[in-house]
């Protein structure tokens, strides 16, 4: 069992990226790896409720479901949220300063970036 960090750095405007990342995180969980998820840069925009399109709503549900499926944590950069004046709408998201990202990276064996 490995510790896998899934890092989202892009906004939902490139919807494929977030879908690939969510698929990857779910697969790692299904294979009993430990998964930590983090959102930095434009990736924090994935945590904000936008327009009411089905695709965005589904993505929000899938991100929220990562905790239900066993992800150890969902963390978002408080600096990146603040800079964009955003408040995450996805439940269970812990905020961390960007300065804590190195500790997050050190706590996992592998990082995949989307």
């Amino acid at each position: 069992m490995s510790r896998v960090g899934v890092l989202f750095t892009r906004s939902g405007w490139r919807g494929v990226d977030s879908a690939v990342g969510i698929d990857t995180a779910l697969a790692a969980l299904a294979f009993e790896h430990e998964v930590d998820v983090a959102f930095v840069g434009a990736g924090v925009e994935l945590l904000v409720r936008g327009d009411s399109s089905d695709e965005r709503a589904q993505r929000e549900r899938m991100i929220a479901a990562l905790l239900h499926h066993g992800a150890r944590s969902l963390r978002a950069s408080s600096d990146c949220l603040e800079r964009r004046a955003l408040v995450p709408h996805v439940s269970g998201v812990e905020q961390m300063p960007l300065s804590a990202l190195h500790a997050w990276l050190a706590g996992v064996d592998h990082v995949v970036c989307f």
Partner: protein, 112 residues
Amino acid sequence: MRFSLFIQDSPDSGAAVASALAFAIAVIDAGHAIRQVFFHGDGVRCARPGADADHDLRALTALAARHDIPLLACSSWLEKLGIMPTGPIRAGSLGQWCEALDDSERVVSFRA
């Protein structure tokens, strides 16, 4: 050290494959090994017929053949994009990538 590479974009959309190739050469030259190269998302376009017209992709597949490195493209994305792989990149599952995690000390992801 054993590495696995995770490629998320095709040569058409950026430098992901070129970067992965340069990294793979450096890894092998330094005496390390590559456990698996996995293509996901748009990266599975590397498996479409004719994709090896790209110099970097052709060099990557040749390197993989020389060092017996599995090249796998996510079967779900192949199906989603309507691609039937015919070359050295075979269809594989995210499960095979997940299994490779335990045999790899590091996964490095590449995208455009």
